[in-house]
Chain length 214, copies 4
DNA sequence: AATGAATGAGAATTCATTCAT
DNA sequence: CATGAATGAATTCTCATTCAT
């Protein structure tokens, strides 16, 4: 009912080249947790989807909470990795680069898995406090750092004038959440077409430039 | 197998000053739902906290889901009402007015109950789709409308130049969520002191003016 | 859970000419008991169908068992009365008279209410042992007596030669249950058209005459 | 709300001579269902009588209805099997053979288990419509077929003259129910001594011969 | 490691009955 | 008499976890 913190021993993947039962379970658990949330997902369901026995679950994970955190960490590491790459592609035009960065962020964050992860963290914030840490660590922090470094360069180059660079990065990220991401997280009807994303991205880039252009 | 008969009656509050058992239940349910979420809260817990028998719950509400939505609507109507009043107080200085509005919004949205409501909506978005509608209706919509009207006035008065007023209102509201609200929703450590709130509010006002001042 | 035997005081119907609430309840209870059986029928259902409060039920009947037996007795008295009239209509031809009596019996016994009563008696034979007495008394006994008297007359008149008249009556009644009644009681598909009934009735008359005609 | 997963497995009886837990449950369930009927029998009672936990019941059967039908089918197959053997023993004298067949049928059908099965089918005819099919298939059909074949032989041999053989078989079976079976099904006081059974059987044989002897 | 039957605590819900008004 | 909220025991069913094989 409450989570236990000991990370289950992670057996090295067996050398036979087949994805180990460990990962099979993790993958099935993830699918269900993301769809249904922690409480509504039962160990039986996971076992069935993974094609293993209920008992096997407990050979690999101490209990449901352990399996859950294992999934979450794996998922955060794997799925949120792409966010790091934001703003890697050099663009001659700053406005275009900002717009493109915003569009990328929005697209990544309305991905069903990202939405699912966000939901699960918010839902279980009290029961599993370190979920948020993990999400922040793998998801938000990296992006913010990436943006900060980028903005610092532009500041040094005189293309932007920013006093608090970290805050500016946070602002940029926050503004990206206008309308589309915000409504997606609530499962409210929302236009997620590329055109719609580009519209918000354009607005973000414009606003950001008004705020920080020389 | 057999049909259920008694439609849950919503008795008008008795005038004797004592909150009726109906509201007693609703209040207890709310407390638990906000703390623990829907799934983790059991009807037994609610009955116990409300000081009534488990059976009594079903004299007033058809089932757990019904009790939950009843709580949520009541709560949305009552608790989120205050958001309407944002920006009602006239201020000679536009910057100060914006800053104050932002500070008010931030304060209201990091209230534990508001955070709890947000969490529950995000968590149960799939199971109870109309929760988000209710939250949006009572919480977000009103605030946006209020801001839009205000900005329209300022636009008409030449103090702001805004093309898409509704989008501007959304931007303003989104920017208010930078750092403090965002982290609060994830139960991450965050400085919620007045000074911290004012800091973000000031940043929001500044940015907004840079974006839309003539 | 087990029945209590005290018959509830039967208030004389109120003189206002309107069917009393007592009978209103009895009628609704009957409808539900016959459809669903004793266990599956709840006091709430009865109250709702009768349009009275649950509490009212207990003003008129001591408990569920009492209400049930009251219904059953009333029902047996009222509904099974018609069986008495079997073989009242004089017929010049004995064969025709027998056939007609058999057809009447079959028709009466496949009536949904008769089937319902039979079912309920069989189902609750252990829990309410005197149901069977009542059914026998009001339903079977009368018919048997009627048949016995009739056969006795015919025996005296030399049209039939019967040693054990009571047994003959029972035989006649039993034979009437061939196929149609038997299958109806089990809700098995069965042809209940008049032609089908007449076919069995004819067979019964024939057989009976072979058995007892001089 | 969530789907159920484990289809109840029907394990083959383990060969160790001890009845498996599956059958242990089935046997206990049967005992209670036959005594008390479906509705009055609770899963807790069954678990207790079988000496297993409540949860175990659901490892073997999907739900109460599934356990019930499983019991019923098993029971019908096992218990009603003996009815098939009616009239297998050759008898030089037709009258004696008929009498003996009737006596056998009566004895089998007033067996407490047969009575219990009949009661349960009649009681649950609406809720479990295929109970009657099962009972008819395993119980009645076989007997009728057996009788029909026998009568056909006798007809071919000129010992009986029967136009509608199937109807004759039904008549024979119906007549066997006179008095003893009929009253037993209602739990009415009845003389079930061998003498009494022989009396009815004799009457049935006599009547049948009058109806169909050359 | 793998299995899957077994468990017992606890979940939601129903229901006959009572009782103050 | 009539009402309907209140009750608490009982019911069906779920679920995380254990353990012998």
């Amino acid at each position: 009912m409450t989570q236990t913190e000991q990370p289950a021993q992670r057996p090295s993947r067996n050398g036979k080249g087949t994805s180990s039962k460990y990962e099979q379970i993790l993958q099935s658990a993830g699918q269900l947790f993301l769809q249904q949330g922690y409480e509504r997902t039962s160990m039986s369901q996971i076992a069935q989807l993974a094609g293993v026995s209920k008992g096997s679950l407990y050979n690999h994970f101490e209990n449901k909470a352990d399996l859950f955190t294992a999934f979450f960490e794996e998922c955060s590491r794997t799925r949120l990795n792409t966010l790091k790459s934001v703003s890697q592609a050099p663009q001659p035009d700053l406005r275009t680069a900002l717009e493109q960065a915003a569009a990328t962020i929005i697209s990544l964050m309305i991905d069903p898995e990202a939405i699912g992860l966000y939901r699960i963290v918010v839902a279980e914030a009290n029961e599993f406090p370190n979920l948020a840490d993990t999400l922040w660590h793998y998801g938000v922090s990296r992006t913010l750092t990436g943006l900060s470094e980028w903005f610092a360069e532009k500041h040094a180059a005189g293309q932007l004038i920013i006093k608090d660079i970290d805050l500016a990065a946070e602002q940029f990220l926050t503004m990206c959440q206008t309308r589309i991401i915000h409504r997606s997280r609530l499962s409210l009807p929302v236009d997620t077409s590329q055109a719609s994303i580009d519209g918000v991205a354009s607005m973000v880039a414009d606003s950001f430039l008004r705020m920080y252009a020389p």
